[in-house]
């Protein structure tokens, strides 16, 4: 179990966190955070996490603000966004700059996310 890929998922909604863990924990070691701040703490404590998937719209710190902060401390980590919003300029720009690796839309597509996580661990 120890050598499974570690994934941190950040979402302010409890149901989303639950469902993500239920569906992906067979494949990956899933870490959960309910906010950007909590996400930063978990990253700090678990240097093995190389992939983070975050919601965009959250109270306090939104997904992009979290990524901006986190990548200063953990530049080696790959960050992606999973949101109910259609892709918009801020995210598109971040993708073009390589700050964000993937944009996933809600409702999530399991195969797409699974494939992307494996891809990010490889690259």
């Amino acid at each position: 179990m120890e050598n499974r890929e570690k994934v941190l998922y950040i979402d302010d909604e409890f149901i989303n966190l639950e469902l993500f863990e239920i569906n992906f924990s067979d494949k990956f070691e899933v870490y959960r955070a309910e906010s950007g701040i909590e996400g930063l703490e978990i990253l700090e404590k678990n240097p093995g996490i190389k992939v983070v998937i975050t919601d965009y719209k959250m109270p306090g710190m939104n997904g992009m603000e979290f990524i901006e902060k986190a990548r200063l401390v953990h530049p080696e980590v790959k960050y992606s966004i999973l949101t109910g919003y259609d892709i918009f300029e801020e995210i598109q720009r971040a993708i073009d700059m390589g700050i964000v690796k993937y944009y996933f839309s809600k409702p999530f597509n399991f195969e797409k996310i699974e494939g992307a996580i494996l891809e990010m661990y490889k690259g």
Partner: protein
């Protein structure tokens, strides 16, 4: 003696006739005065004669003399003042003849004396021309070389003829006045006509200017209307975009729950071996299809109202048309029969996807509103020359000729108030024109409408 008197009478009569005849033949004022002067001189057998006319301000004007003055005789020398000529004044005031039989014996004013001496006059007869109790002038007859005694008969006769001639003088004077007035009037008319012409030209110029201004104003108004329409449209789309994005997020989130839950259930049943796997698959599929459909509608709404900064996205016409149909689902369902024929064409145009969505949404919505329940709408996609053509035709109410010409005007609508903004087709035309395409509409009232949208295929 008897005979010579007769002869004399005949001579006088002839002279009077001659004057009258000559005067009748002319209406020239100076000529008439000259004729009178010459005629009276002959009639009364006196060598010299002069006619002074009474003018304004007690001035005298020398109208004619016998023998006649040279034609270039200066006007300034013709003018005298009546107070310098007391005998003329007397004749004119009393309207009676004045006789000076011998100039040497008479009291004369310096001016009178000067004239008499210049002409070597001996005796003088002043006959006023009286007409209608008014003295028009005075005829002065004078003998040279020797004095003359005038019989009362001669004087009376002379005065009678003078009064008759006064009528002629007055008539020619009036005539001259009339001519003068006529000329003045003609000149006045001429001047006024020229003024009018000038005014007319100015008016025409002003009119032209006004028309030009008018056309400019019309253009400005049209421009304002269009700008207003575009503003309304972009405001509408901007608020719709914000609203759609918000709603999309709020729908996508619960869809995400359902998706996660169905996936979790599927895995759960896989692990725990369900007794009726077939029924379970149907139920799970229903969940997936439901999520899928809801998600597609949200996506198409997003695409429709998204505010894209650049206009060079690759727009798939198949996808856009299907999105529009999806968005109009409720409007079309149980109302019109939709016949799609995209001809297996991959039609990609470069442009703004959201805006192209708006074009077809408007056109298909119009078709749907034009048909009765059970009416047909055909959606055909094909290539013609360098264009992709999307043909939207219906067998609905059609559009009459008058409205057809106004159909692309901003704010033109035949729909009930509140049912249409009159912007739909105007916006469609603007967007298609931005994409270097064109819209062609054919319609027949009662038969239906065909809207062809041409978009460049490169």
């Amino acid at each position: 003696m008897e005979k010579s008197t007769n002869k004399e009478e005949v001579r006088k009569l002839n002279a009077v006739l001659q004057i009258t005849k000559s005067i009748i033949a002319t209406l020239n004022y100076e000529e008439v005065l000259q004729l009178i002067s010459d005629g009276m001189s002959e009639l009364l057998d006196i060598e010299t004669a002069a006619i002074y006319l009474l003018e304004k301000d007690d001035n005298l004007y020398l109208g004619a003399t016998t023998p006649a003055l040279p034609p270039d005789f200066p006007d300034s020398l013709r003018i005298a003042h009546i107070t310098d000529h007391p005998n003329i004044l007397s004749a004119s005031v009393t309207k009676q003849a004045v006789v000076i039989e011998d100039f040497k014996m008479a009291e004369l004013s310096p001016a009178e004396r000067q004239v008499a001496e210049m002409r070597n006059l001996k005796s003088l007869l002043f006959l006023p021309f009286v007409h209608d109790e008014m003295t028009l002038g005075v005829l002065i007859l004078g003998t040279c070389n020797e004095p003359k005694v005038y019989s009362q008969e001669d004087i009376d006769f002379g005065q009678t003829i003078a009064n008759q001639l006064a009528i002629a003088i007055e008539n020619t004077r009036l005539h001259a006045d009339i001519i003068h007035h006529k000329e003045h009037l003609e000149q006045l008319v001429q001047e006024k006509t020229e003024d009018l012409d000038d005014a007319l030209k100015e008016l025409q110029l002003l009119n032209q200017e006004l028309q030009l201004k008018n056309r400019e104003l019309e253009k400005t108004l049209q421009y304002l209307k269009e700008t207003e329409a575009q503003l309304i449209q972009s405001e509408k789309m901007a608020s719709l975009g914000v609203l759609t994005a918000g709603v999309a997020h709020e729908i996508n989130n619960p869809l995400n729950y359902i998706m996660g839950a169905s996936l979790g259930l599927e895995n759960y049943f896989k692990k725990h071996k369900s007794p009726d796997n077939g029924k379970l698959q149907t139920l799970l599929n229903a969940l997936r299809v439901g999520i899928d459909n809801a998600s597609k509608i949200v996506k198409s709404l997003n695409q429709f109202s998204r505010e894209a900064k650049d206009d060079i996205e690759e727009c798939d016409l198949n996808l856009i048309l299907d999105n529009c149909i999806l968005m109009l689902g409720n409007q079309l369902k149980n109302h019109a029969v939709l016949h799609k024929n995209y001809g297996n064409l991959q039609a990609i145009v470069k442009g703004n996807s959201g805006k192209i969505h708006q074009v077809f949404l408007n056109i298909i919505l119009n078709a749907s509103q034009a048909v009765e329940d059970g009416g047909n709408i055909h959606l055909n996609l094909y290539i013609q020359d360098n264009y992709y053509v999307v043909e939207v035709s219906d067998d609905g109410a059609g559009i009459n000729k008058e409205n057809l010409s106004k159909i692309a005007d901003p704010f033109f609508t035949t729909k009930a108030p509140g049912m249409g903004t009159g912007l739909g087709l105007y916006i469609a035309y603007s967007i298609v024109s931005e994409h270097k395409g064109k819209i062609v509409i054919n319609s027949e009232e009662g038969a239906g409408t065909q809207v062809n949208v041409y978009l460049p295929n490169s």
